[in-house]
């Protein structure tokens, strides 16, 4: 039977929404407070959803300890308490939460020990979130 296992992780990071493709004025108009040159930060929640057959021996889609190891190594250690703008993944991409969710998806997609990465959701605050699927 195909079921889905979901796990939520928290990362705290800073960023600034700014693109060199726009003038300073256009950046302010587009990104508002998020364009503050001194950055700002969020407690992001990264929710990972894995789809797969339930292993009859373990009752699991994926072993949570194995999933935790991968997410911690690839996502949490990389982004937690970091400035997203300085990460190489955002050298040419604005670190919006849309782009963060797709970066997380790409970093995890081929790294899971079981199942298939179905969806990554990143909650920037309690009131907004973004989802990336294949």
């Amino acid at each position: 039977m195909i079921a889905h296992f979901g796990r939520r992780y928290t990362i705290s990071a800073s960023h600034r929404l700014h693109t060199d493709a726009l003038s300073a004025e256009a950046n302010r108009a587009t990104y508002g407070k998020c364009n503050n040159p001194h950055d700002h930060g969020h407690n992001y929640v990264v929710e990972v959803l894995v789809a797969g057959a339930v292993d009859p021996e373990t009752g699991m889609v994926i072993n949570m300890a194995a999933l935790d190891d991968v997410v911690r190594a690839r996502i949490v250690e990389r982004f937690d308490h970091a400035n997203l703008n300085l990460d190489s993944l955002f050298a040419n991409r604005v670190p919006t939460t849309e782009n963060l969710s797709s970066a997380v998806f790409a970093l995890l997609k081929d790294a899971l020990s079981a199942g298939k990465l179905e969806r990554v959701r990143v909650e920037e605050t309690e009131n907004n979130f973004f989802e990336c699927v294949e």
Binding site: M1, A3, H4, F5, G6, R7, Y9, E57, T58
Partner: protein
Amino acid sequence: MIFLTRRATFSASHYYWNPAWTEEKNQQVFGRCANRNGHGHNYTLEVTLAGEPDPMTGFVVDLKWLKDVIEREVLAAWDHRHLNLEVPEFAATIPTTENIAIAAWKRLEPSVIQAGGAQLSRVRVYETPEIFAEYRGEA
């Protein structure tokens, strides 16, 4: 199509153990969840039905009816119980969050089918706020 979700909570104990394995293997795969004295969680169950609103009532289903179904079919059997020792579907199936979601679906589906109209779309079970599993009826 409208999706309607009702949330309910239950508290239960469980452990993870595959009797075909050695104690060492159980400890290695399941870690602290393999403690045979059990441990417990406050689970949150989310039941999602899909359907069209009735033109007269505006309801996909009556939420009170759905609440009663969840209480009768699931909570009455699981709340304040030891899942491995007291719940028949886990006598030979490890009560992982995945299997709990599947078992909840099986308990709820007959009542939803019998009522006609809306269909069971998804059952999601939170073991903690950070851990959940869901089942959508897929074989």
